[in-house]
Amino acid sequence: MMDCNTARLLLNFARPASTELEASEAEALQNHLGDCTECAALAQSQRAADAILKRAMQAVPLPEGLHLRLMKRLDRERDAWWWRRIRRVAAVAAALLLAVGGAWIWWRDSRPELDPTLIQAAAQRASNLNSPKDVEEWYRQRGVTMVAPTQFDYQWFLSPNFGKLPGTNRQVPLLVFWRPGDKAVLAQVFVVSKRQFNLEQFAPNDQISWNYQGLYVIRSAPPNENFAYVVLSSGGPLDRLFKPAAAQ
């Protein structure tokens, strides 16, 4: 059975045609109002008071032309919004264009010119590795032990590198020799070791042991017979790259 205090508390939340109160609370309140004349009178007066306050609350006159002014303002705001958006997109596009243009100009200007004269001069200077020892040291600094061929003249040495020996999957030291001139000759020299390949068919006598249309295999001489040099050459005769004594 609901007491009067609870009923008066709940009266604040009991609106006609409203489901604010739990069903059980609303039923208990109704039962109480049916039994208690004092609370029932209070409920009636509260409802009357609410109706009066509601009428007063809603009695707000609308200004003349409000709807029209609202629509005009919304139109202005929409136009302004579009302009702001267009300006923003244009600014972003301009910034993007500037950045792309700048990058393109930088890329275009930062590429070195391909100058055959420079290449010719540089090639004639060859590298700063002027002897087999220099070349061996270059590879040693990169963790590779090798013996460079001694019969080549290192004034024609162009560059040390690594490359895959054709027909195999092995990366090996690769030396490039080039001698310009009327009978220009270019040779790629792959340095292979006994540990990697079976070299028994090639005699360790430091001589060209096989010649097949620009392909040579040269076995190093004792005491460094553990290496062989596979030479792929093109152009003029290979001995133009050898030291005078070896060429003879």
């Binding site: 609106r15 007066s45 509260q46 306050l53 609350m57 707000v60 609202l70 929409r78």
Partner: protein, 172 residues
């Protein structure tokens, strides 16, 4: 947004007027609310909640202004009882301007729920959602605000005069 304006501009303006107590401010606020609604229209996913959404935008705009302005200290109803109080049997009609003066004196946290309650028949749950408050808090504030308005506006004038000291003690 045109439909939203057509459907709700009257109630939104009246709500704004009851919040601010000034027709010029109410119109500004209504315009601002619809402008914001126009920009954020994609956020309104459920058309059935359009009214609550617009009212919420308007209240946020109002609170934003309120924070920027210096204003007179308002009446807090923290000391008032939640219990319904008896009102005289013969009730006079309330002058809307007198109601507005009474509302103006209230703190916003009491003024907003009472306006929403009487004005647009928002449920307690909707009011709680709009004000981002627990429902119990809203119910308590509403009870006090209703009690304040009834006492302030529905008591006979003679009773009000003699009850002045008691009301002061009640936090009024």
């Amino acid at each position: 947004v045109q439909k939203l304006v057509a459907d709700y501009y009257e109630s939104l303006y009246r709500y704004a007027y009851r919040l601010t107590g000034c027709s010029a401010d109410a119109e500004d606020l209504t315009q601002e609310a619809f402008c914001q609604a126009q920009m954020k229209l994609s956020q309104l996913r459920d058309q059935n909640r359009a009214k609550a959404w617009l009212f919420s935008i308007l209240r946020n705009a109002y609170l934003h202004r309120l924070r920027a302005e210096k204003h007179e200290p308002r009446l807090s109803l923290d000391g008032m009882s939640d219990l319904a109080q008896p009102v005289p049997e013969s009730l006079p009609e309330v002058d809307p301007e007198r109601l507005q003066r009474a509302l103006n004196e209230l703190e916003e946290v009491f003024r907003t729920p009472i306006i929403l309650y009487y004005f647009e028949d928002f449920t307690y749950r909707e009011i709680a959602e709009q004000m981002d408050l627990p429902m119990g808090t809203v119910m308590s504030r509403l009870a006090r605000a209703k009690s304040y308005l009834r006492t302030r506006l529905l008591q006979p004038v003679s009773e009000l005069a003699t009850d002045g000291s008691r009301r002061a003690n009640d936090g009024l």
